[in-house]
C-alpha cells in the first residue's frame, strides 16, 4: 500500500475498496492503522483484561466490516471504530455480569474501593477500579478527547448524563489516585 513515491490511500479510499471488492489488502491496511489505538482503548474500557480486549477488537472489526455499507464517512473511521468497540466491550462486560450501567454511577456517594499504596500510584489500576460507566466516559472525554455530545451518541445517553458521569469519575479518580511524579506512573504496557 505504501509504495515508494506513492501517496498512501486515505481511510475513505481503503474503505471504498474494501466495501466494493472485499479487498484483503485494504482491510489489512486499515487494521494496521487503527488496531493499536482501538486495542488500548478497549482494554481500558474492560478494566485491563488483555485477552478479552483482543476478542473484543476482533468482534469490533467484524461488526465494522459488516456495517461498512452504512459508513458514510461523515465521522472519522477511528471515531466510528471507537463507538463500535465501546459497545462490543459493554456487551462483553454485561456477559460477565460486570456492566452496571450509568444509574448507580451517578449516586452521590459511590463507595471508594480499597487499594494498596502501590495500586493508588498506578493510574491504570485506578482507572480499572472506577465503575464501568464512569470509566468509559472519562476515557472518552479525558483521554480520547470526545465531546459530551459525541459521547452521548456513542453510549446512547444524554449529554447531561455524560457530564455527570464524568464529574463522578473524576471525583472518584482523584480520591483513589495517589501518584505524584508522572515518571512513576508510566508503567510498562505489559
Amino acid at each position: 500500500m505504501h509504495g515508494t513515491g506513492r501517496v498512501p490511500a486515505t481511510d475513505q479510499e481503503l474503505v471504498d475498496v474494501l466495501r466494493e471488492g472485499g479487498s484483503e489488502a485494504a482491510f489489512r491496511e486499515l487494521y494496521s492503522r487503527h488496531t493499536p489505538r482501538l486495542l488500548q482503548f478497549v482494554m481500558r474500557v474492560l478494566g485491563g483484561a488483555a485477552e478479552d480486549a483482543e476478542d473484543v477488537v476482533q468482534e469490533t472489526w467484524i461488526r465494522a466490516v459488516e456495517g461498512l455499507p452504512g459508513f458514510r464517512g461523515e465521522a472519522r473511521l477511528g471515531t466510528w471504530l471507537t463507538g463500535i468497540g465501546l459497545n462490543v466491550a459493554r456487551m462483553h462486560l454485561r456477559k460477565l455480569g460486570r456492566w452496571r450501567g450509568f444509574l448507580e454511577a451517578v449516586e452521590p456517594e459511590t463507595p471508594t474501593p480499597a487499594l494498596s499504596h502501590e495500586e493508588r500510584m498506578d493510574l491504570e489500576c485506578v482507572l480499572a477500579h472506577l465503575p464501568d460507566g464512569q470509566r468509559a466516559v472519562l476515557l472518552l472525554h479525558d483521554l480520547e478527547g470526545y465531546t459530551h455530545g459525541e459521547i452521548g451518541g456513542m453510549l446512547g445517553i444524554a449529554e447531561g448524563t455524560s457530564k455527570s458521569q464524568l464529574s463522578a469519575a473524576r471525583k472518584q479518580a482523584h480520591a483513589l489516585y495517589d501518584g505524584g511524579a508522572p515518571q512513576r506512573l508510566r508503567r510498562s504496557n505489559d
Binding site: L18, G21, G22, S23, E24, F27, R28, Y31, S32, T35, P36, R37, L39, Q40, M43, E54, V57, Q58, W61, I62, V65, E66, L123, E124, D142, L143, L166, S167, R170, A173, H174, Y177, D178, G179, G180, P182, L185, R186, N189
Partner: protein, 186 residues
C-alpha cells in the same frame, strides 16, 4: 494533590492521563484470526487457494493451457533448431550490405559453435572426421582472413593472423587416405 476545579482534573491527574500510552500492539495472531473470521463470513474475498476451490472448468482450462504452451514450445524449438542450419547453409544475401554483415555474424557464430561441439566430442569421434573438420576449418579461417585483409587493408591484424595459419608443407600428415577425395569449400 491540588484540585483546582471541582469538576475538572487536577494538574497531576491531567499529566498522568497524558502520560498514558495511547496505543497497544496487538498480538501477531490477532490480525490473522480477524482476517480468517472475515473470510469465513464472506466479508473479505479469499485469495485463490485459501479456503476456496477453483471451479472444475477452470482446472480444465489450466490443463489445456499448459498443453498448448508445451506443444507450441516444442514446435518452436524444432523450428529454431532447423532454422539455424538453414541459415548457415543459405546463400549469402545479394546486394544488401546490412544483411550480408548479419550473415557473416551468423555463419561465424555457427562455425565457432560447431568447432566447440566437435572438440567436446573429440574422444568419441572418428579421427578421420575430426581431421577433416579441422582441415576445413583452418581453410575457412584462412579464407576469412584473406577476405578481411581486403575488407580493411589498414588493419594489420588479419594479415598477421593469415601469416600464422599458412598450411604446412607436408599436408599429407593431416590428410586421409590418398584414394579418397577431399572436399574443401573455400
Amino acid at each position: 494533590m491540588t484540585e483546582q476545579d471541582p469538576n475538572g482534573l487536577s494538574p497531576e491527574l491531567r499529566d498522568a492521563l497524558d502520560a498514558l500510552p495511547k496505543e497497544r500492539e496487538p498480538s501477531a495472531e490477532l490480525e490473522e484470526w480477524t482476517v480468517s473470521a472475515l473470510k469465513r463470513r464472506g466479508l473479505i474475498a479469499p485469495r485463490w487457494g485459501e479456503g476456496q476451490h477453483r471451479p472444475v472448468w477452470m482446472s480444465w482450462v489450466g490443463v489445456a493451457a499448459a498443453l498448448v504452451i508445451f506443444a507450441v514450445g516444442t514446435a518452436l524449438g524444432h523450428r529454431l533448431g532447423s532454422t539455424s542450419a538453414v541459415v548457415v547453409l543459405a546463400p549469402s544475401p545479394d546486394g544488401n550490405p546490412r544483411e550480408t554483415a548479419a550473415y557473416v555474424q551468423r555463419t561465424g557464430s555457427a562455425h565457432a559453435a560447431a568447432i566447440r561441439e566437435l572438440a567436446a566430442a573429440v574422444q568419441s569421434a572418428e579421427p578421420r572426421d575430426v581431421a577433416l573438420a579441422r582441415d576445413v576449418s583452418l581453410a575457412a579461417l584462412r579464407a576469412s582472413l584473406e577476405a578481411l585483409t581486403q575488407l580493411d587493408p589498414s588493419d594489420p591484424t588479419p594479415a598477421l593472423l593469415l601469416a600464422a595459419v599458412q598450411p604446412v608443407e607436408d599436408a599429407s600428415a593431416i590428410r586421409g587416405p590418398a584414394d579418397e577425395p577431399w572436399v574443401v569449400w573455400f
